[in-house]
């Protein structure tokens, strides 16, 4: 999916909601357990109930891998069932040396029909570039994540050096604020942005990091951000939207548990639709 197609879908649906299919077989309604593939049956109902309200689905691969072969099969069926219109994200946090990242790209962009894959940046350029070679496919690289552990390494201050400040001065919008010590995640954002373009790269920015939003948007004015952590993790949609939206919207806000587990009973799909509708309406207001 191209950026233009994504922007058009957001305008049409008046939504930048991404529904996270973190489908845990121990949390789905009990009546589904008699289905031949309970996880797929659950996902199918959630997708049917939310497809007109969201622009993207994010499949958290861990929940499927935990079920082994059956789980991988449920993931395969789910991503194909979503169809062409929504943006399909594999939240798999992959990344390895070049020849191995090639294989991950093949897994998610050729063997499976995902539009995007989340990627971890620790191994650097050759671990990320293989995901940028596919027209219409996206790497969504971890920038600043939503969890407590984001404080451990992502926010470490880097030693000031000439190259960093040179990069800094090249960022026109910020030239007036002068040099500073970049933190790791900021260098990740800036370096990785240089390896691709806003047409094939997004970044994960956790919704629980509101103090950083404004600065991150200044650093990267054009890129889309995938923002997880709204709902169960405590991020607030209004603040995220005010601080990070750009003229093309520029954000996909993910909600997983608050939507898919809105009810644990037979009315789960209906309640998921209600939860998604509430979010979509709020988003429509911010899009104006």
């Amino acid at each position: 999916m191209t950026r233009q197609q994504l922007v058009e879908q957001i305008k049409k649906k008046q939504s930048y909601l991404c529904v996270g299919l973190d489908t845990d077989i121990t949390k789905i309604p009990k009546h589904l357990l008699s289905e031949p593939d309970p996880v797929f049956a659950f996902n199918k109902a959630i997708i049917d109930a939310t497809k007109d309200l969201c622009v993207a689905y994010k499949i958290n691969t861990a929940f499927y891998e935990a079920q082994g072969l059956k789980g991988w099969e449920a993931m395969d069926k789910t991503v194909r069932y979503i169809g062409d219109e929504p943006f399909k994200i594999a939240d798999a946090k992959r990344g390895d040396i070049g020849n191995t990242s090639d294989q991950y790209a093949k897994a998610f962009f050729e063997t499976l029909p995902f539009d995007a894959l989340t990627v971890t940046p620790y191994m650097g350029e050759d671990s990320i570039k293989p995901f940028l070679k596919y027209p219409g496919k996206w790497a969504i690289v971890l920038g600043l994540t939503s969890n407590k552990g984001s404080n451990d390494f992502q926010k470490l201050a880097l030693r000031e050096n000439e190259r960093l400040n040179e990069m800094w001065n090249m960022t026109e919008a910020l030239a007036s604020t002068g040099p500073f010590n970049l933190r790791l995640y900021e260098k990740v954002l800036m370096d990785v942005a240089g390896w691709g373009s806003p047409e094939n790269l997004m970044f994960v920015i956790g919704a629980t990091q509101p103090d950083e939003f404004t600065r991150i948007r200044e650093l990267l004015p054009h890129h889309y951000f995938l923002v997880p952590g709204v709902g169960a993790q405590g991020g607030i949609l209004k603040e995220i939207s005010q601080k990070t939206m750009n003229k093309d919207c520029g954000i996909l806000v993910n909600s997983s548990r608050a939507i898919i587990y809105a009810s644990a009973k037979e009315d789960f799909a209906e309640k998921a639709r209600e939860a998604a509708t509430t979010v979509q309406k709020e988003m429509a207001a911010y899009l104006k």
Copy 2:
């Protein structure tokens, strides 16, 4: 597998070789393609030919995921075929927020019978701890990797601060050399080491990083290192062994392509055995 069991296996086999099963269906001998599961048939023959010469197998999950469901099935069969004695590593570079890492731990330590999983550290403590809760299971965390991209972020100098130097002074072996600016990967090694023990944590240290070996072993005298990058990537076994072995051996050296693709013909297993034997004999000499 406990550390003691691993050490005993190394002594018995006079080897610290890990054979990497990066099995690429486009590179295996053509006569296997008529088998019902060519990847498993290949792996089975490689395992039979090398099991007495190596102490570990490392399955690079990307090559299996690239084949979709069939690939996941081949991985499942392969790890079960290896059996109890060798140390079974899923080279999957996983890591996510706590509740998702829980699912990855379940995938590789419960649903599949791996002993260890490679883990990426970018998301910090809560992304790694779930892998440390299983007795006899290991997280192998990326420290300094073998690829060119390891220069991009892993070697960035961190800003000097009191806490870092306090940690430094606590490392007795190095107290004499005084304070310094840690680089990111060094902080990763030291912080992550504090979240577990040498009984459930190893680190990935690329064989292509010989200038760093001595220092890394000083930082972490007791931990095992998984060292990829010997062979196709250019690392040298002798130098790695001299600089990083400790009294319990302390390293697992991985070789993938140089062993499993030693021949592309019908004699592939025989040639793999020859290649593994050469490495094992060299290792036996260093173990003395």
